[in-house]
């Protein structure tokens, strides 16, 4: 159970008013190199990443409040380009120019996924994997696209490959757990945290 259909009832229940994005192709996760979640970042008015935090904590809250008390700076930092902001046509042209550039192929895969072209996205993930077989973000994204197509078993194969390339990445591990043991995540009692503690202890060895 993933994606907007899971999120919407939760947002209604809690009356969420802030904008919510669903990162179905892991654009945010890959750009910030996330190894575990929850995670928070504060980006200031200049565009600087000022803070990183984990789950809710008094310390993080105090640090956020410290930044909010500062006078607002008039300076605007330069743009740090992200392929996710480019158009599909630009990404297609770039991938055609650099067919062996895994990053260009993966960025195109993410844009195709965004556009609902899952078949095209899978093909680009496969091309990225040929260009860069050691990068865990490639099979992770590939698995996410397969999940969007309902191809759960094939997705699990890709997530497992991603885990083997990046064993310290707990996002990949938890994604695998949720698929293998949905009853521990989506049962009537919600997420089984005790079960997760046991898994974490076992997999840390």
């Amino acid at each position: 159970m993933q994606g907007p259909e899971v999120v919407k009832p939760w947002l209604e229940k809690y009356g969420v008013t802030f904008p919510v994005a669903v990162d179905t192709a892991d654009v945010f996760g890959a750009a910030f190199g996330l190894k575990a979640i929850p995670v928070s970042f504060l980006v200031d008015e200049v565009g600087i990443v000022r803070l990183q935090g984990g789950g809710p904590s008094k310390e993080f809250r105090a640090q956020v409040e410290e930044i909010l008390r500062e006078p607002v700076s008039a300076v605007r930092g330069g743009t740090r380009e992200s392929a996710s902001a480019l158009s599909l046509d630009d990404l297609r042209a770039r991938a055609a120019r650099q067919p062996d550039n895994a990053g260009a192929r993966l960025a195109l895969a993410q844009a195709l996924e965004r556009a609902g072209n899952f078949t095209g996205a899978v093909a680009e993930c496969e091309a990225a994997a040929r260009a860069q077989p050691k990068d865990a973000t490639v099979p992770f994204t590939h698995g996410l696209v397969l999940l969007r197509q309902g191809r759960t078993n094939e997705a699990l194969v890709k997530f497992t490959a991603a885990r083997d390339l990046d064993p310290g990445n707990w996002r990949i591990r938890k994604q695998i757990w949720a698929l293998e043991h949905p009853e521990r995540f989506y049962g009537t009692n919600g997420i089984d945290w005790d079960w997760q503690k046991v898994r974490i202890a076992r997999e840390k060895k």
């Binding site: 802030f18 904008p19 970042f41 980006v43 600087i48 930092g77 330069g78 743009t79 740090r80 996410l144």
Partner: protein, 158 residues
């Protein structure tokens, strides 16, 4: 599935230099020349920002339109931040030029290309201009939110 709540290749230096605005008053502490962060921002377009939770050497960052770099040795006097001139030289593309009496300093900048998105984003660097798809299907980029403080919280249904 990840849900996101919205709330450096080598820099190729180009040989274009320009002087930046007015001379800034030099403030001497422990025999070293400093400038006030507020004056630096106003006259040179360089913002000096503290990174809470990171004390010591990497506790501050200097960011302008072209550069964003760690800054060492910043002094705090009440609300005033004093930036060592030598640290600015080290951190940014600014070159300091003192007047005869070392009462004032002007900065000249060497223009550099914008940093490209090499490696993951991290604290103290400019956030990449990500485009994210909101729950209603519309998209938003981080650069569209410049000028505001944005808290991004990422969580999952697992």
């Amino acid at each position: 599935m990840l849900l996101t709540r919205m709330f450096v290749l080598a820099l190729a230096a180009l040989s274009v230099t320009q002087s930046l605005a007015a001379p800034l008053p030099v403030i001497t502490r422990d025999g070293r020349a400093h400038v006030a962060a507020a004056a630096l921002e106003r006259e040179a377009g360089i913002a000096i920002k503290r990174l809470p939770g990171r004390e010591g050497r990497s506790g501050f960052v200097a960011c302008g339109p072209d550069v964003c770099a760690p800054l060492n040795g910043v002094l705090t006097e009440g609300e005033t931040l004093l930036v060592p001139v030598t640290a600015l030289n080290d951190a940014s593309n600014l070159t300091a030029n003192f007047d005869d009496g070392r009462q004032h300093v002007t900065f000249s900048a060497t223009r550099r290309e914008s940093p490209s998105a090499a490696g993951p984003a991290r604290v103290g660097s400019i956030a990449p201009n990500l485009r994210l798809t909101k729950i209603d299907g519309s998209t938003v980029t981080l650069d569209e939110l410049r000028g505001q403080r944005v808290l991004i919280n990422s969580w999952a249904s697992w």
